[in-house]
Symmetry: C2
Subunit: 309 residues, 2 copies
């Protein structure tokens, strides 16, 4: 179990960015949608085809400069079975192109059900004497509300296949405090959860100081990022909420250690919709995505300095 491959990719690309591939029809250039509709008619298959073409274009453009993608499962499930197929294809393709794939499913359950999710995204499934990876991700986001029974089945699978998880600790949304900021014996719930992450990661390999159990900590809460970095020295952060949700680059400084490691910052809309913001030719959407990714890389590398193992 580890996030070592992710960390190595971050150092290789000198870029602590993960591109969120959360396709929505309104993010996709018309020429892609028109072609898909012409081929498949007004069906979910047409939307699925458009999602795939769009994703492929972005992966082709950014895979050499970005270490990872993070597809949000909701956007694929939203178009049914056809969408789930596109998620599978996207994950597989990104891995072929050398990227680390974080499936953002926020899955959670207990016992054999959690084992099911773990096998689905991080493990293997046996049929007779043959083995299959149902959805080939490298890491999965999970929700720890159910306690250890909901996390250890994921850890067992991560140990077997050298995968990782990211547990929701302090989420980026405005109402995250309704539960997460409430005090338990003077300690906020997000810190209780964060400390559990350290505990769950205790027996993990930590080649670069970080375990295979990461934490989701929102860019919109810079004070909490700083606090959690200090209190969770072995927990790697997945940081959503940068850009569109209001998180600023300067606020992220405290997420990183002196080597520039410790976190990876997600950007979804800013990358997918860069062509709309630039008002460039829609056929250049992938190049616009690359330009945005490079802009963000510069912004972050100014903060982290050279990233070292």
């Amino acid at each position: 179990m580890s996030l070592d491959r992710l960390i190595e990719k971050i150092v290789e690309t000198q870029n602590p960015t993960v591109v969120g591939l959360d396709p929505k029809p309104e993010y996709i250039p018309d020429f892609i949608k028109t072609r898909a509709l012409a081929k498949r008619g007004e069906t979910l298959k047409a939307t699925a085809r458009a999602f795939w073409k769009f994703n492929k274009g972005i992966i082709d453009a950014v895979h050499e400069v970005v270490p990872a993608i993070k597809p949000q499962l909701a956007f694929y499930e939203m178009i049914g079975v056809e969408g789930v197929k596109v998620f599978h294809k996207t994950a597989e393709y990104a891995k072929e192109r050398g990227m680390f794939v974080i499936a953002d499913g926020k899955r959670n359950d207990i016992g054999s059900t959690a084992e099911g999710y773990a096998a689905a995204y991080l493990g293997k499934v046996q049929v007779g004497s043959s083995e299959f990876s149902p959805f080939p991700a490298d890491a999965l986001t999970v929700n720890g509300y159910l306690g250890s029974d909901g996390i250890t089945p994921f850890i067992d699978v991560c140990k077997k296949y050298d995968k990782g998880i990211f547990v929701l600790v302090k989420t980026s949304n405005p109402s995250s405090g309704e539960l997460q900021d409430r005090l338990v014996d003077g300690v906020p719930v997000y810190e209780v959860m964060g400390r559990m992450c350290e505990e769950w990661g205790r027996e993990s390999a930590k080649k670069y100081g970080y375990s295979g159990v990461g934490a989701v900590v929102g860019a919109t809460y810079p004070e909490q990022i700083a606090e959690m970095r200090a209190k969770l020295p072995n927990t790697f952060f997945l940081i959503p909420g940068y850009g569109a949700q209001g998180g600023k680059a300067d606020d992220l400084k405290s997420a990183f250690d002196s080597r520039g490691l410790g976190g990876i910052v997600n950007s979804s809309r800013a990358v997918m919709c860069a062509w709309q913001k630039e008002k460039c030719d829609e056929r250049d959407y992938a190049d616009a995505a690359l330009r945005e990714v490079l802009r963000m890389k510069n912004e972050l590398i100014n903060i982290t300095g050279e990233i070292r193992l």
Copy 2:
């Protein structure tokens, strides 16, 4: 938004039971698996085919005496895209046979991502001028760790299509207390979450006294069931953990109001594996499931008395 159709089905069948359809290869009779392997070879398609045949047999056997099924999405995702297809087919078939379908996905996210999950399971998706239901469920289990931002998008969709959600409050597993029992200003986290359910359900229709925002409360914690029933008068309970996990019928008494309403009790393994426990001919697995369901119905109706609207 409501759970009224579920409540009406419970009264019609006089049975506050939901059958968890969580297929695993070891629960499935050999004759089904052998046929599927012969037809599809050692592939996930073969497992998917076995799951579908097994589910269909159980639905055919129990649909007149059980109000609802609760497929656990993990078991379908575990066999990849083919499994997700079987989930779709199972939900559609159960609805055709008049059953209420609770998709047990414990989904959770914020903003447009939560809207995505809501559309996927409870709503509709537009392609051009055509509309589709990606996965046709009547209710979905959700995790409220992210606060209102993670719940209101589901509620908006429920309002539009008269669907419901069940929020995790006090889960049935041994370690649920690690977070859920911790005290926030003297109030356990599960109660904080439960009170949010009442709040989220405030504007829902309540034809029979219960809103469209239900709560998951484990049968393994009878004291908490009693406490939550008293404190959450408008919140309908989905109760896992009965049977295999150790929850007993007598412990459930307090979940129900004086009309016998207020909760629905899940049984998965005891129903799916009744043929193994009975040691009957494996070809009678569906009849064995029916016998178990009737046994459980009698047990529960002894507690609730005649169930009335």
